[in-house]
Structures are given as structure tokens and as C-alpha cells.
């Protein structure tokens, strides 16, 4: 049997314990042997590099060598479902949740969610923002009923862990150590570079409700008395997060 199906090729490529398919040869017609490892290696290295680019903070948190080992397990359990490497790693949060060796780092899945959101924001569609003056021009009753359309690049990520602090401490030199407790992160993309902002809990509730399409009045009521409406709206508009008021 000298024919090699792509199923056989794949099986041996993803599992080094499997024998190299018999129909593969070296230049003398002998079994391909070690030559097959070029493909095993290329696939593992290529996908590992894609994951390293996608999750720089996770990589710093667990260290280079550990991340490579983790990526090796991930890529065999979750090979890409599409040729768009910019989307590869979407199952990383769930994978980390169930990955025994990182049980002592329970914040990793949420940090991975934040990194995925930042990457999605980077590749999201462009959209022309409206300004806070557009909001101010509304008559009072229309203001109360106003709903926002958010730019495609805006994301909100909430966690019971201090994910903003962890992200900043690992991505920016001289950043303070992360605090404790839950954090909500708003991601905006004024031009091309996504920016994570730490929100207060009331501002996060308000923003989440507005992103769901609720009115200003409803979102303010949900956020409660602790909401600094002026500051929250100013940030959304100066960051170009709102593309339409209706």
C-alpha cells in the first residue's frame, strides 16, 4: 500500500508517536523517516508563533517555555478551523479553564478574553464617529430616549479579576502592580490602535446597557447613583466609540 491519503498524513503529522506513512520516500526511495519531521515541526512552530502573537500577556504570565508547551497541547486539541490566523486562539479561554497545570492562575482565562477582544478590535471595521456636540444638540426629551450605535471596534470585557491591571503591568514599562478585585475594561480604537480603559462598576453597567441598545434613561437607572455620567460620556465620545445617536 503506497498511496498516502491526507487523513493518514495529518494523523502522523499531529502525533509524533504515529509511524510515518509508508508511501513517503527519501531521494533514494527509502522510507522518508526524519524528513517527515519537517512538516511536524513546521505545523507546530507556525501555530505556536500565531498563538504567541495573539497572547503576549498570557505568555509573559506563564513564561516562554511553559507557553510553548501549553501551545503544543492547545494546537493539537484546537487546530485552526479557518486559514485566518488573526482569529486563531478563540477557544483559549475555555482551554485555560480546563488546563490542569494552570489551575493556580484562575485569572488566565479572563486575561485571554481581554487579549482576544483587543485583537478583534484591531481588525474590526472602520466607522466614522459622531461627537458629544451631536448629543448635546438633542432636545431634552430626545436626550433621555437616546440610544447609541457603537463602533465595531468597541469591546467591553468584565472579570472578577484585575485584568486591566494585569494587562497594563505586562504590556507597559514602569506600570504599577495590578490591584485586587474585579475590573471592567472598555476597549476603544480611536484610529488604528486599540486602547483598554479601566471603568468604574457603574460606568461599566451603563456602557453594557447602552451597547445592548437601551436608552440613556434606562442605562442610567441600571448604573445607579455612583455613575459619573459626564466623565463616562466624554470618554465614549472622545475615543470615537459612538457612530450614531438615535
Amino acid at each position: 500500500m503506497t498511496e498516502v491519503s491526507q487523513s493518514q498524513f495529518r494523523a502522523a503529522m499531529l502525533d509524533s508517536d504515529q509511524p510515518v506513512p509508508e508511501g513517503l520516500r527519501d531521494k533514494a526511495g527509502a522510507p522518508a523517516g526524519k524528513r517527515f519531521n519537517v512538516y511536524r515541526n513546521n505545523v507546530a512552530v507556525g501555530l505556536t508563533e500565531a498563538l504567541e502573537a495573539a497572547f503576549p500577556v498570557i505568555r509573559k504570565l506563564v513564561g516562554d517555555a511553559f507557553f510553548k508547551a501549553l501551545a503544543g497541547v492547545y494546537l493539537r486539541n484546537h487546530p485552526p478551523a479557518s486559514p485566518l490566523m488573526m482569529h486563531y486562539g478563540a477557544e483559549m479561554p475555555g482551554f485555560l479553564k480546563g488546563f490542569e497545570p494552570v489551575r493556580a492562575l484562575p485569572y488566565l482565562p479572563d486575561v485571554a478574553r481581554l487579549e482576544i477582544a483587543i485583537r478583534q478590535s484591531y481588525h474590526a471595521a472602520d466607522a466614522a464617529p459622531v461627537t458629544v456636540e451631536d448629543l448635546g444638540a438633542l432636545p431634552p426629551d430626545a436626550f433621555a430616549r437616546a440610544r447609541f450605535t457603537f463602533a465595531p471596534a468597541v469591546r467591553l470585557v468584565s472579570s472578577r479579576f484585575p485584568i486591566h491591571g494585569i494587562w497594563v503591568a505586562n504590556m507597559q514599562p514602569d506600570a504599577p502592580k495590578p490591584g485586587k478585585g474585579a475590573e471592567d475594561v472598555l476597549i476603544t480604537r480611536p484610529k488604528f490602535d486599540p486602547r483598554p480603559h479601566l471603568l468604574s462598576r457603574p460606568a461599566a453597567i451603563f456602557t453594557a446597557r447602552m451597547m445592548e441598545g437601551q436608552s440613556l434613561t434606562a442605562a442610567m437607572a441600571a448604573a445607579g447613583g455612583g455613575l459619573d455620567l459626564g466623565e463616562t460620556l466624554a470618554r465614549l465620545f472622545t475615543e470615537g466609540a459612538i457612530t450614531r445617536i438615535s
Partner: protein, 283 residues
């Protein structure tokens, strides 16, 4: 039946575009004749990648080079991916679109590598059907690139140049001749690279690729060259390029450098060396 290779790239050196070189390219008064991008890196919805590509395309001819279509795959082509390619080509209107004689997807799993094919009549039929489909959907002819080989299939019935010629005959597609891949495959599989070039239908070639490789060895201690795209092109490959150009005439030449990517001046220097090779055949 075959008039002009289906590429509108100028017969000049071009360079594989890397976003980190964007400012240096725009600041360079005489950068290169054209740029090539990997299609899959420009399939997001917006942001910097597409904005930069649009600005680049305003100044230079662009070649769109796919690395994920899996033209040699046993399964059908991914219709979603094909429509993304169409969207990109309709938006950008590139001077050329090319893909690989390889497979990279199986059962909806993508391996991010160019995997080898046996050269049989069954493979030929499948590859031609897929290329017909691509050319129908895109509404243009494409170029198909020869792979770098590390092993051979016992079941193969024909040599690679013969196989590629048949694909081009049946589908009308042009060919992308990767000169470094020819040298790698010839070394790894024990044939003469010049004989490969002699057998290759050079009139179908719309573009050539130039790149560096690494050296390893196989179980028997024989040299095994690895297509690494991480350094300057090796001297024997420059000689093979001269041999090829002397027979093909001027062609668009691409410098590919995808790993350990250097600063722009190093790439520009490789492109100048390619320009010298083109000037030699014009003289």
C-alpha cells in the same frame, strides 16, 4: 493557446510586504517596483492592515499571494475562503493573484503549512478542478507556485515540471516559479535543478520567487535544505536564477523574507541584486 502569462506585474524586483517597513518604504525615493502581500493577513474587516494596504496600492502594483486555499486538498475548496478572496481581489484589483501547489486544510482543520502532493492523474484532475473554480469565482487567471519538497511519494507518476505544465495546459493558469524551491527540491530529492528549469514551461511564468534557506540533514546524513525565508538567498540559487533568466527573459522577481525579518535596507539590497540579474540579461 497561451498568449501572455496572467500577471500584470512589471518585470522588476519586488519585495514581500511587512507592516514594520511601511514608513521606510514610503520614505525611500526609489524603493522597488512592486509588493506582494499574503491574502490571509488582509481578510479582517478594517483597521490598520487594510488602510496601509490601500495606501501601498495607491503607489505600487500589488501581488496578492494566498497561503490558505488548499488547492491540492482532497475535499472541496472552502466556499467562505473563496468568497473572502474574491472580496479582497475586487476591492484591491491586484496586478496578480497566486496560490500554491499544496494542501493545508483537511476536514475543516487548517494546518498553516504547505503540505505535499503526489503527482498522479487523480491529483491532476483535482487540482485542475479547484483552479477552474478559483478562476471562475475570481473572474481572473491565477498563478500556481511550485512547492519546496522534503520527501517524495512512491505513488507519483510524473515529474513536477510535467505536472505543472499539464495544470497550466488544462486550466489556462500561469505559473509562479520559486527558484529557491527548485534548488531545495532538487537537492532534497536528488535531481539536477537546471534540468528542472529546462523542463519547466518558462513561457507560462508570470512571477519568480527568491528566498533564503537553511541546511539540515536526513537520517542517512544527506543534506536536507529547509525553506526558511529567514536570510539572504544562497549563492548557488543566484546562479540558478541567472541560468533561468537567460532562458525565460525578464520576469517580475520577488524577494521573500518572512522570518527574522531585517530592516528595510537589507531587503532593498536583495532587491538591487535581483535588479542586477535582470540587467545582465538585458545587456
Amino acid at each position: 493557446m497561451f498568449d501572455v502569462p496572467p500577471s500584470h506585474l512589471p518585470p522588476l524586483p519586488g519585495v514581500g510586504y511587512k507592516p514594520q517597513h511601511y514608513s521606510a518604504i514610503l520614505a525611500d525615493p526609489a524603493p522597488v517596483g512592486w509588493f506582494e502581500v499574503h491574502a490571509e493577513n488582509y481578510m479582517g474587516d478594517g483597521g490598520r492592515p487594510l488602510a496601509q494596504l490601500r495606501a501601498l496600492a495607491d503607489r505600487f502594483p500589488i501581488s496578492v499571494h494566498g497561503v490558505g486555499l488548499s488547492i491540492g486538498g482532497e475535499g472541496r475548496l472552502d466556499p467562505d475562503h473563496l468568497s473572502r478572496l474574491k472580496h479582497l481581489c475586487d476591492w484591491l484589483r491586484p496586478a496578480s493573484f497566486s496560490e500554491h501547489l499544496a494542501w493545508s486544510t483537511h476536514d475543516n482543520q487548517f494546518f498553516n503549512d504547505l503540505l505535499p502532493l503526489p503527482y498522479t492523474s487523480a491529483t491532476l484532475t483535482r487540482v485542475c478542478d479547484h483552479i477552474d473554480e478559483v478562476q471562475d469565482v475570481l473572474g481572473r487567471k491565477m498563478l500556481l507556485e511550485n512547492p519546496s519538497s522534503y520527501l517524495a511519494f512512491a505513488e507519483s507518476e510524473m515529474a513536477e515540471p510535467e505536472f505543472l505544465r499539464a495544470v497550466s495546459d488544462r486550466t489556462g493558469c500561469g505559473l509562479l516559479l520559486d527558484v529557491n524551491n527548485v534548488f531545495i527540491s532538487a537537492t532534497n530529492l536528488g535531481y539536477n535543478p537546471r534540468a528542472y528549469i529546462d523542463a519547466f514551461p518558462l513561457d507560462r511564468v508570470g512571477e519568480m520567487h527568491l528566498a533564503g534557506h537553511d541546511e539540515d540533514e536526513d537520517d542517512s546524513g544527506a543534506v536536507l535544505l529547509i525553506d526558511s525565508h529567514g536570510r539572504e538567498m544562497a549563492e548557488p540559487v543566484w546562479a540558478l536564477l541567472d541560468y533561468t533568466l537567460a532562458r525565460s527573459g525578464p520576469k517580475p522577481l520577488l524577494i521573500e523574507w518572512d522570518n527574522d525579518v531585517p530592516d528595510w535596507p537589507i531587503l532593498a539590497a536583495e532587491a538591487r541584486r535581483a535588479e542586477t540579474a535582470l540587467e545582465r540579461i538585458a545587456a
